[in-house]
């Protein structure tokens, strides 16, 4: 049994699958809590296990259980750890209405936070991994968690999930980036996880103030450029990228209004990570 502390969430994970145990020990190294404390409250009780005894040997599968329930169909055993990561994303997104949740990466430098909302394939995680490898603090790779009263960004420090070419791109970009195992043939292609920097773990309860909302787009032939974005347009795209905007109703709309009003909003096209990182560094220094 693992107790994983990912403030503001506590996760209990039961598994006997060696690949998951290894990945958890590696990727969540700094987040594991000792078990002896009996006074515990876990937000999510997850089990990753084989769904049937019969299929333990023939085309083995793995299932994701949240408190005994199975919201998903089983996956091939080789995808057990990515399944945990996706399942945990789902747990947070579908049980957490006290925060506004956006599908976005969040990084911070000099207490200025940058939200990178991402349509799949836009390059949000790649850019996020490059910035974190260049000294930015990781708040989250998958979702921006926003306090509905103060509009502060709340970190949820977990591994950065990279796909396909991005894995090679980031390992070439940064010699110090620590990767876990590569998982082939998942629904999203090859997936590998990058361990967050130790600094991000140390500051994992420190909230950050939003400064920029940047919609990235990786375009192989385009020069690096940052283009100002209409705030109305930014608001609509953030709403489309939100996990729980529909549940927050009018409060959600007002929050997004306040959020884009308080931030600088840009479109960002890039093909070269070095140039991208330099450009964001210059933004930090300008402001």
């Amino acid at each position: 049994m693992f107790y994983i502390s990912i403030p503001p969430f506590d996760v209990q994970l039961e598994t006997d699958i060696p690949a998951v145990i290894n990945s958890i020990n590696n990727m969540y190294q700094y987040s594991l809590k000792p078990m002896e404390d009996t006074e515990k409250f876990s937000d999510f009780h997850i089990k990753i296990a084989s769904p049937s005894r019969i299929r333990k040997h023939y085309r083995p599968q793995v299932q994701f259980y949240i408190d005994g329930k199975t919201p998903f169909k089983p996956l091939p055993l080789s995808q057990a750890f990515p399944f945990f990561e996706w399942g945990l994303n789902w747990c947070i997104a579908s049980h957490t209405y006290q925060y506004l949740l956006l599908h976005a990466a969040v990084v911070e430098k000099d207490n200025k936070a940058l939200i990178l909302p991402g349509y799949p394939g836009a390059g949000k995680s790649t850019l996020c991994a490059a910035l974190v490898s260049s000294g930015w603090r990781l708040l989250s790779d998958e979702m921006a968690v926003i306090d509905t009263k103060t509009l502060e960004l709340i970190p949820v420090v977990r591994p950065i999930s990279l796909k396909n070419e991005s894995i090679k791109v980031i390992s070439e970009f940064s010699a110090s980036a620590e990767f876990g195992e590569s998982f082939l043939d998942t629904a999203k292609g090859t997936v590998a996880h990058m361990k967050p920097s130790k600094q991000s773990f140390i500051q994992r309860i420190q909230r950050a103030k939003l400064k920029w909302v940047v919609f990235p787009r990786y375009l192989a032939t385009k020069p690096t450029q940052l283009i100002e974005k209409e705030k109305g347009e930014a608001l609509i795209e953030l709403a489309e990228n939100s996990f729980n905007y529909n549940v927050l109703g009018s409060q959600g709309f007002n929050l997004l209004c306040d959020l884009v009003a308080s931030a600088q909003c840009y479109k960002f096209e890039y093909s070269c990570l070095d140039e991208a990182v330099d450009l964001f560094q210059s933004l930090v220094e300008e402001n």
């Binding site: 409250f41 005994g68 006290q98």
Partner: protein
């Protein structure tokens, strides 16, 4: 069996003050049981009403807050959906009559507070059914994918149209013309229910009379075969009993009505299990006057099955007989629903569809 008074969720409903004594791992179990049973928001609102909300530690409080935010939006969405359903029916002068969860919300019953439901159930007079069906399909409610067999099965034997879903909003609508299948020998006369409707808010929306609301809830729970929400449904009954018993002569009227629409057996079950699980204050003389006689052995069997089936749907509340009990009650519900000469071919077809992978659900 896990005794009801050993389950923290039940204790929290029966004596809310006990939450003051819980340690964090007990809170952990309470939140999980409440979520699994679909009563997290109901529990949160109960703690609020009892002035205990401020005492909830931060970790569980986050989950209660989240559930309350969700239920607020849910209730808002339901109001809008009711408005649209009423609009579709109004053109044809068909009154909107709500059943179950939506009715509790409409009537501001305690059972409606924090109550989630996945479909809106409405009642339409049988002679207006065709017009209503057409009105709904003109307004975007479509039948879920069903083959010819299912369509005919519903229309010929059931007490409702096949379930409808709005093509754009994805909301579900169940249109009933009675509260039990026509094939069931317990099927009441729908006209008697329609004769006693009440309008709670003067907005043209009707619900069953208080006594009928209880009897329908009991029929649905004790003759139905789905116990995933059994705990929540018996909690509905407990809350309805407690609320209505403040009215003068309520118990007397309830007993009388049960005889009138021949539902004394369902009422007996409702009394017995609501009291056994939630310690509902039902006077002894009321319990004794239900017009039904059960043999000791039959009562023991039903206790064995129902107390297990009605526990929160969570591992911590199950024993080795829970799954079996729910299965037996599921089979029983089909048995009650139709005579053997219909039941056997129907079940055979269902299992054939499942085995060959042709089943949609």
């Amino acid at each position: 069996m896990v005794a009801p008074n050993k389950i923290v969720l039940i204790n929290a409903f029966v004596h809310p003050d006990i939450v003051l004594t819980l340690n964090l791992s007990e809170w952990d179990l309470l939140v999980r049981q409440a979520r699994s049973a679909g009563v997290l928001a109901r529990l949160a609102l109960l703690l609020k009403a009892k002035g205990l909300y401020e005492k909830v530690p931060e970790k569980p409080l986050n989950h209660f807050n989240s559930a309350i935010i969700y239920i607020e939006q849910f209730t808002y969405t339901v109001q809008w959906e009711l408005y649209l359903i009423q609009k579709a029916l109004n053109k044809h002068n068909i009154p909107l009559i709500l059943l179950k969860g939506a009715a509790y919300v409409q009537a501001d019953n305690d059972a409606g507070k924090g109550r989630l439901f996945s479909d809106i159930d409405i009642l339409v007079k049988k002679e207006q059914l065709q017009v209503a069906e057409k009105a709904f399909s003109n307004h975007g409610w479509l039948f879920e994918k069903l083959d010819k067999y299912d369509q005919e099965y519903y229309r010929k034997w059931m007490h409702e149209l096949p379930p409808m879903r709005h093509f754009k909003r994805g909301t579900n609508l169940d249109v009933h013309h009675n509260i039990l299948p026509l094939t069931s020998h317990k099927c009441p006369n729908a006209d008697k229910l329609l004769a006693n409707l009440v309008q709670e808010k003067g907005d043209g929306i009707w619900v069953l009379a208080a006594e009928d609301r209880i009897l329908h809830s009991a029929i649905h729970l004790f003759y139905g075969g789905e116990f995933e929400h059994g705990f929540r449904d018996v909690s509905d009954l407990d809350l309805l009993f407690r609320e209505f018993s403040k009215n003068k002569r309520f118990w007397h009227k309830l007993l009388e009505r049960a005889v009138e629409i021949e539902q004394s057996e369902a009422l007996y079950y409702a009394f017995r299990y609501s009291k056994l699980i939630f310690n509902t204050p039902i006077p002894e003389e009321v319990l004794d006057s239900v017009d039904i006689s059960f043999s000791v052995s039959r009562r023991a069997i039903m206790d064995f099955l129902l107390i297990r089936a009605l526990m929160p749907d969570h591992d911590s509340c199950d024993d080795q007989w829970t799954g079996f009990s729910r299965w037996v009650l599921y089979v029983r519900s089909h048995w009650l629903r139709m005579p053997m000469y219909l039941l056997v071919p129907h079940l055979l077809r269902k299992s054939w569809m499942r085995v060959t992978g042709k089943a949609e659900h």
